[in-house]
Amino acid sequence: MKADSNLKKVLTQNVFAVTAECGPPKGADPGVIKKKGNLLKGYVDSVNVTDNQTGVVRLCSMAACAILRQEGLDPILQMVTRDRNRIALQSDVLGASSLGIRNILCLSGDHQSFGNQQQAKGVFDIDSIQLIQTVRRMRDSGQIIGGEALSDPPELFIGAVANPFADPFDYRVIRLGKKAAAGAEFIQTQCIYNVKRFKEWMKQVLDRGLDKKVYILGGVTPLKSARMAEYMSKQVAGMDVPGDVIDRLKGVDPKDQRREGIRIAVETIGALKEMEGVRGVHIMAIEWEDAVPQIVEEAGLYPRPRISEE
């Protein structure tokens, strides 16, 4: 019997979902992943595994997902179009399903010039929306690009990302609509610090009825320090960290800034829980996975529901 996506079950049963991110190591040790997985186990419904994020070579997302699955977690395979052409992507989609991975998050990926292989050739054969469409057709029609039939279709719950804080602002919701039309079922957003702007975006989402088409999970990243907040605000493209958040962190003693960062994250989740159309939260605690249990507990999202296998 094939197990279904836990994330899908949680969302379809109208439970406010919790996902978290796990970054694989820059090495071949499976222990790191097991450790991170066990930290998160019981506190989240599913775990995203990044795919060579920011163009830095790491243990592959697929292998890490397989390990997490063995550890009893429900992994979300992140797949970027930067490094693989359509042959490799479709092949990996089949491979993921065969390993029992049940969720996929389709992205274009950070540009290779940001990473540690700056001389790499960026592939970008297809883009994230075309990947969503491809996976959806593979799953629902059992066809690859070009129409050839598969002997067995993959089983995957299909996700995509959205950044409500990038430009052009009014196009952001149109792009979300395109992702939904392409076949995305759940959406994880960029980290939210500017709750006001996120609300404006959500209003556009509701106006277009997109909340009925996709499950939206708001992104939350706890800030470790005022310095990190400033760095994110200035150096990370498409990130919106308002001045009052930075000031709030600056206002507390450096040794208490982590605590304050968690508090801000918990408050943001509180706001998201109240927001119409938001169906869950995606916690990206970058190299700080052990903060996740605390955030989940303080946000009143613990324990996670146990959804029985049918």
Partner: protein, 224 residues
């Protein structure tokens, strides 16, 4: 136009090191427009090579010649009777020019002096920007005449990535985000319908196909 930049002198010198009789050949078309391989640049490079040899106490013979186009046989033919008096041709043509010259002189050594860079436009004097990758299936009609293949750092067909901010690309703050331009131009030209359209995967066989591409036009070919 095809744009190019001169290679560093050290690289050119290293390639020319074994030779004494050098024919420096410029091209009067694209690379002249982008000031990398026209008559003037031939003069500069030849002068630098001669001085370099003098500094090192070597004797070399350098002849300068610039032909209208290095990629068309009729013009390359002007080198016939001259080329064979030299040991090597240093070509300031684009990659196509270098190869066409080499093909016209099967026994001649031909060395590139330029790094051929892109197909682009002269934006302002001294500034050239890339805007076409010759994909073989021009999609500009769907993207308000802004090429996403070339001008978006990720070649995205279906809208801006999450890094587009204040109109500039996340990859290079000196470059406008192609998608900001596409969205604006689609709106300005009344093609809002295309904003929501999903563009399917591109046909890269039109670009990469089976190796080098060819255009054969019967009406243009000679009888013999």
């Amino acid at each position: 136009m095809i744009t190019a930049e001169r290679k560093p002198m050290a690289e050119i010198k290293a390639m020319l090191a074994p030779y004494r009789k050098i024919l420096v050949v410029g091209c009067g078309t694209c690379v002249a427009e982008c000031a990398s391989g026209g008559e003037k640049e031939v003069g500069l490079l030849a002068s630098a090579l001669r001085m370099d040899a003098q500094i090192e106490g070597r004797t070399i013979e350098v002849r300068e010649m610039t032909i209208d186009r290095q990629c068309v046989y009729e013009f390359i033919d002007k080198l016939t009777g001259v080329a064979d008096r030299y040991e090597v041709i240093l070509s300031l043509g684009c990659g196509a020019g270098v190869q066409a010259v080499a093909e016209a002189f099967p026994k001649m050594l031909v060395i590139p002096a330029l790094n051929t860079t892109f197909i682009g436009e002269t934006k302002e004097p001294g500034l050239w920007v890339e805007n076409c990758r010759a994909c073989g299936d021009c999609k500009l009609g769907y993207f308000a005449a802004v090429c996403p293949v070339t001008r978006c750092a990720k070649g995205l067909y279906n809208g801006p990535c999450g890094g587009s901010k204040n109109g500039v690309c996340e990859v290079d703050p000196d470059t406008p985000c192609a998608w900001q331009l596409i969205v604006e131009r689609l709106e300005n030209t009344g093609r809002n319908d295309l904003l929501e359209a999903i563009y399917p995967p591109a046909d890269w066989s039109r670009q990469q196909g089976k190796g080098p591409r060819k255009i054969a036009r019967e009406d243009q070919r000679s009888e013999s």
